[in-house]
Amino acid sequence: MPLVLNEDQQMLQDSAKNFCQQHAPIAVLRRLRDEDNPRGFDQDIWQQIVELGWTGMTIPESFGGFDFGFSGLGVVLEQTGRTLLSSPLIATVLLSATAINKLGTDSQKAELLPKIAAGELLLAFAIDELPVHKPSHIAATAVKQGNDFVLNGSKTFVLDSPVAEKILVVARTSGETGDLAGRSVFVVDAKQTGVEVTRTKMVDSRSCGKLTLNDVIVSADSQLGTAEVTDSSLNRILDIARVGLAAEMLGSALEAFERTLEYLKQREQFGVLIGSFQALQHRAAIMYSELELCRSAVRAALSALDEQDKTDLEIARLASMAKAKLCETAELVSNEAVQMHGGIGMTDEFDIGFYLKRARVAQQFLGDVNFHRNRYATLSGF
């Protein structure tokens, strides 16, 4: 598993970094928030992202993508994390396109994937029903009725649901709430009768919502793969998304750390730069060490996603390692960033608070540190 970027990935990183800094600085997120923009992203920036090809990076060439691999998408997400770029990349590309590609029939892929690659279709992925991530807890039902399914239930913390044209819904086609078997993924049109999305404004200002399904009738061919999903294939999709999210969190944590470091080198108190105080130096050096571990964890997990011979168990362990490590470090760094900035770090005018807010939402999304440590222990056989 390569742990350093190759030449192509290095070039991609440079161009992504340039793009985010020049065209999508943190001021964009601030503007979206101040406007109370329900879409949660900037349409012009999204169009440029589509033109850069980021939407097609993990989609096979036969379905309109570039097949550049998850390492490539991870490199991009790390850079978007630096400027807290809010875009449909996570919900549409990382989660939904992966689910369609892994689970869908050829005709489902042919219908949906080229549109995603071309930036013509936005999706959301609805799985959580509790306020904490618990993928086995699926109470939403899909009952077969002739050639159709009837969906009922409710979902929470559904990223991009207020803007998505289609929503992938994880619902139960057999068994009881809590069973690992009996879950299916359906493609549901957001405009359809019985689908209701209530926007929820989160602290990170991204687009999010709660979803209720009230006797929603979908045709049988909207069931991805026209079959129930196995626990391992559903987890593979979630694990890919967890690793991608960890890459984004890495970028945010690195940026928050570097901004803090700059502040330590500028701010004077007691007649000296505060960065000369050992109490702060050691905490900065410890954060640096943790971030280096995070970098390695993310690189290892991303590389593994692109290797054909990796088992589901190996991927799962690496994904939980990466997400757990990033959750822990994102919390450390975002807290220290505010603390070390002192009073100014508490003001809305200053940007560092945005990193704190985004960190917590990303920490919760797809499993927090407790979820992943517990899972890592189970997968490791203890």
Binding site: Q278, L293, R299, A324, K325, N370, A377, S380
Partner: protein, 416 residues
């Protein structure tokens, strides 16, 4: 592209020939986990509890593979970095024990190759490769621990000899070593960093004496070392007079890289090859609680999971640092970060092992405890030195803050 392909196939044929050489030359007992008293340290009075260890050392030294990347001119293996990676992979494949473990290899050799003159290299490097001379490190002094540059052992020129007076402390295995690489003050009039020189001498010289120090773990790997009018040929000074601090710091980077390896064993949670129930934290925790499927204490389980996640991420970081140093030459400032983190991890491992095993881990000696349990108590106590030796954890954090993060000098507070 053609060139790339041919070099790839050259590497593959190197792998094949290495594999078949190892098959033929690595004795059977060498392919079993290392036991503490069979580690080969070399030296004039080298002891070989296992005769196959001697054979293994001779065969490996013959090829220069005890120091695979050192120049052939001085007895090294002359391998490229890629070839040496293949060699270590092939050694790992058959679980081969290290042929030779020595401070000559891990600390002195690399800086002597960089700063020594031809005569010095020709005299010392081949003997390090073959394990003929065992070296010790004369750095710390009773009054100079973390503030190493304040050292006071003096070397005064008298004709073509230096006369050395003073004392060193924490000299690892000084009582077993043949030669010492030593930091001495050659100028008392200049700022502390600018008056230090790096010198080599024979521990059998008249005026050298050593006294072992007993540690809290009961063992005595370290000594106090005294120099009383020791006469050392002036030609034994390495590099420039009064420029010893440059060499000293470089050597410390190599030392840190070596010590940070202690934390690596944690990637598998093991203590280096043992197959007992205490080989890994989780096995120990389950065994001593009578657990079958998972550790029944959820709080301990969480702490072990956190430790193992950190260990795995640390192992990836060490590996990444090797991949990155392929471009650079030798260890860089990140060696301080690795040293800091690796040592903290190793200490955490032993604290968790004590929690996993309970009171059976706290026996000192005698009946009521297995050898393994008694060993753990000693290893736990020994691990406390990890974050002190080779530069304390606090000194490593200072170095990271200054050299890696570029934070302003702490002394700026005083000078203003």
């Amino acid at each position: 592209m053609r060139e790339k392909e041919s070099s790839v196939s050259a590497l593959e044929s190197f792998r094949e020939s290495t594999r078949s050489w190892l098959e033929e030359n690595c004795p059977p007992s060498i392919r079993t986990p290392m036991v503490q008293d069979e580690i080969v340290w070399g030296g004039c009075n080298a002891e070989f509890k296992n005769p196959e260890s001697k054979l293994w050392l001779e065969r490996m030294a013959e090829k220069g593979w005890t120091c695979p990347t050192w120049p052939q001119e001085y007895g090294g293996g002359g391998l490229s970095k890629d070839e040496s990676i293949i060699l270590s992979q092939e050694l790992a494949r058959i679980n081969a024990r290290p042929a030779l473990t020595s401070f000559g290899i891990s600390m002195l050799g690399p800086v002597l190759l960089q700063y020594g003159n031809h005569e010095q290299k020709a005299e010392h490097i081949p003997k390090i490769v073959r394990g003929e001379i065992r070296w010790c490190q004369g750095y710390s002094e009773p009054g100079s621990g973390s503030d190493l540059a304040s050292l006071k052992t003096r070397a005064e020129l008298e004709g073509d000899h230096y006369i050395i007076n003073g004392s060193k402390v924490w000299t690892s295995y000084a009582d077993k070593a043949d030669w010492i690489f030593c930091l001495v003050r050659t100028d008392f009039e200049v700022p502390k960093h600018s008056g230090i020189s790096f010198i080599l001498f024979d521990m059998a010289s008249e005026g050298v004496s050593t006294k072992p120090i007993q540690l809290i773990s009961g063992s005595s790997p370290f000594c106090e070392t005294f120099f009383d009018d020791v006469r050392v040929p002036a030609s034994n000074l390495v590099g420039q007079l009064n420029d010893g601090w440059t060499i000293a710091k470089r050597l410390l980077q190599h030392e840190r890289t070596m010590i940070s390896g202690f934390g690596l064993a944690g990637s598998q949670g093991d203590r280096g090859g043992t197959t007992s129930t205490t080989a890994s934290l989780e096995k120990a925790a389950m065994h001593y609680r009578g657990d079958e499927e998972q550790i029944s204490d959820p709080v301990l389980r969480d702490q072990i999971a956190q430790f193992k996640i950190d260990s795995e991420a640390f192992a990836f970081t060490s590996q990444r640092s090797i991949e990155e140093s392929k471009q650079a030459q030798g260890p860089n400032a990140t060696s301080s970060m690795l040293k800091y983190y690796g040592c903290e991890l190793n200490k955490r491992r032993y604290e968790l092992l004590l929690q996993a095993i309970g009171s059976q881990s706290l026996g000192w000696e005698g009946d009521g405890f297995s050898d393994d349990e008694l060993q753990i108590a000693r290893e736990w106590l020994r691990s406390k030195a990890n974050s002190i030796e080779g530069g304390t954890a606090e000194v490593q954090l200072n170095i990271v803050a200054k050299r890696v993060l570029g934070l302003p000098d702490m002394l700026s507070l005083v000078s203003k």
